[in-house]
Symmetry: C2
Subunit: 442 residues, 2 copies
């Protein structure tokens, strides 16, 4: 093989990152692959936008057929994002026997099974290192490095924008809105930050990771998703008082039968490595029955880190092409017959610790009323802080519970919020389980 010919669909931020990596480190990549990676065609609907890379005019096109119908192109990289036309392009490329690379976590989370089936059917590889954790070599870690483990838990800080906002709120005491606006000014948040701050992006990523970790299909609609827009600086301060940091955590756990997959703000003990992940960084903490706890940390987004991950997939597929090894690792890194459909446990059944912040009138007997209702729902209190921060005649009462059932918590809080002495809706934040490695060995 003289060279590997590559077609790139989508010249946005990540696309430009890939072009730049291939440009900057082309010689290095050739040494490591044995043959050159040649970017033969780059397709985008808008070629007039100013971009930070120089691509020869003859390489550019607005017609995706110039990639799909080119029989010399062996690998197609899809970096346009979203459902359509990305899905059609990928399916078409695979049908024509081309290997594909994608960073499209939303598409993988919603239609992964269909894409993986197409790859199997057409005897091609689908690589997606850049879909989760940006430049962090995470997909490889799960599919290969930790292959000898039954994975019990994954905790991920998977969205850099949300983590950046929470870090600023924690360090500067600002509100969510202020921190978001600061993040937007610095380019850490998009003009429409919904997918990031509402937890949807992190949910896409944990869905993909869970599929890989448990060799299963995960129904995205069963994933509980809660964002960080309602996090109050007061809660961040109280969390610190109790020895915790609040992070938007993507959580995935398996008891060997059913799985938990959820994304929500979570209080993490300050001494846990995940509590120390600041700014736009991502980190993924994985517990396996052999390896124990492993954590991977790095930039989960950005032009160059994501470009680095896409380029690593190109080298990987290129090595397969050079070695003639066909599908060396299946999409879910497992035999087809072993891929199961694993039921996602309903949130109602969750049993964990909770943080509550009640806002009530400053009057004797209020705490007793609240704790009475909690008790009647089997929720026992671990500690209480009642601080003199009176706002408009009300005071916050802050509690940490022992382990309680989510369903009971929801019922108790509904009842408490109906009390005349309670002046606004109770805030609650889930608390990370305190686990030892041993517990994961189910």
């Amino acid at each position: 093989m003289r060279e590997i010919q590559v077609g790139l669909i989508g010249l946005g931020t990540v696309g430009c990152g890939l072009v730049k990596v291939l440009e900057d480190n082309g010689e290095l990549l050739q040494q490591r692959l044995g043959v050159p990676l040649r970017l033969k065609k780059v397709v985008d609907i808008d070629l007039d936008r100013p971009r930070p890379v120089n691509i020869p005019r003859e390489v550019l096109s607005t017609q995706v057929q110039h990639i799909l119908e080119d029989n010399e192109i062996q690998i197609v990289v899809e970096l346009i994002g979203g459902m359509e036309p990305a899905k059609t392009f990928l399916l078409d490329a695979m049908k024509r026997g081309k290997h594909v690379v994608t960073a499209n976590k939303a598409l993988l989370a919603m239609h992964g099974s269909e894409l993986f089936a197409a790859a199997r059917e057409h005897g091609v590889n689908i690589a997606f290192e850049a879909a989760v954790g940006g430049g962090i070599p995470l997909i490889r870690a799960v599919r290969e490095g930790l292959v000898a483990n039954r994975i019990g838990r994954i905790y991920g800080i998977l969205n850099g924008t949300a983590n950046y906002i929470l870090t600023r709120m924690s360090q500067e005491g600002t509100t969510f809105a202020e921190a978001l606006s600061g993040a937007q000014k610095l380019g850490y948040a998009e003009a429409d930050p919904t997918l990031d701050v509402e937890g949807v992006d992190a949910a896409h990523k944990i869905a993909v990771l869970s599929s890989l970790a448990y060799c299963c299909e995960v129904d995205f609609n069963h994933i509980y998703v809660e964002g960080i827009t309602h996090i109050d600086p007061l809660d961040i301060q109280f969390a610190k008082d109790f020895g915790y940091q609040i992070k938007l955590l993507a959580i995935s756990r398996s008891d060997g039968k059913r799985i938990e997959v959820r994304v929500h703000p979570t209080m993490i003990p300050q001494e846990h490595m995940l509590a120390k992940v600041e700014g736009a960084y991502n980190a993924i903490h994985i517990s396996g029955d052999s390896v124990g706890d492993v954590m991977l940390y790095g930039l989960g987004a950005g032009m160059m880190p994501t470009g680095s991950a896409v380029a690593s997939d190109l080298v990987d597929l290129g090595r397969d092409l050079v070695a003639g090894s066909g599908i060396r690792i299946a999409s879910l890194a497992s035999e087809e017959r072993a891929v199961a459909c694993r039921q996602v446990k309903p949130m109602d059944e969750l049993v964990i610790k909770y943080y509550f912040r009640f806002v009530a009138v400053d009057r004797p007997g209020v705490l007793s009323k609240i704790s009475g209702i909690l008790g009647s729902h089997d929720i026992s209190i671990a500690s209480v802080i009642q601080k003199g921060r009176q706002v408009k005649g009300s005071v916050p009462i802050v509690m940490m519970t022992h382990e309680a059932r989510e369903r009971d918590v929801r019922m108790a809080l509904a009842e408490i919020d109906d009390l005349p002495v309670v002046t606004s809706t109770t805030r609650f934040i889930r608390v990370k389980k305190n686990e030892s490695v041993e517990e994961s060995q189910s």
Copy 2:
């Protein structure tokens, strides 16, 4: 292919870990590989020792020929450690066309080139994920995940024993000897801890990592190695006062031409992720020109984590065998002709910040004398702490310098230690450079 037949040489801690992983997760491994991994023969010189695994009598042998001469065995795992006979066994196995797996960092550091050349000559793979960072999928990260990066720096906490001891000293204020003895009682340190506490083990590992990161041969004898036996609880306390943690750090840097490779106690700013790595954990912080900063964290030793890494290599080589892909990735993940011999920069040329602890008589003019000598050697002081902790008429004078040259530091300290007012040998600890990602993009 019906199954992959494996021979294991060495049934110590890691060997037993591998057997246990194959036993516990055999079905999972088969699903992920497509065919069973069969441990056909296990060889050890002492079969009578009690071990935590049950191996059928007919699988065990004391004769290594039972593995090497068995034509059905496709992969040989070497887990005896040390130079000989490990090297001879590996070379013999490769000569017979067998792929090999080893966790032997000392052998790879000293004779890696010879082993890699043999693998190339005989068209076989040599896998060594378990050699560095135990269960952390680190070798894969460098060879594959970060393949599109020019790596500028690696900082590693690569020895769990040393990190456990320093963590205890830091948390409990104990001496090195007390912490070591505690570590030995809990099984975190061996009866003879020399290789761990003197930094030699970490040096083996950073040599292997450097070879991979820069695709080069590294002369082990040019690596500067300093252990932690001389670290005083006083220095740990002063480090904290300045905002640092002391870690045994393995450091590897490239300026594109020469490389730095060294192991020594290092003061790390408390807010750096590496400063937060506690106990027996390892962590490796890598800076690449595309990916920025990435860190991998986990247990760097132990029966099961290391067994997990060895098993991942078996699956990797098994996948190559099933796919018929031969040598898919060269040992140093690069074409042979691109492998260079990179000169290790002499320590004398190092330019970094230093921590000094002088012990001098409590008399006016002493500080002026010391700082005069430092100044005459181009060493400028960033801050000084002179605390009233008088011991036998002497007081410690503690300083942080601006960037200075190691050669100048050594000369200045020799001169200072000759002063009559200086009552014992000056302690110095190197301080981690404060770097941004950009600097690594050389």
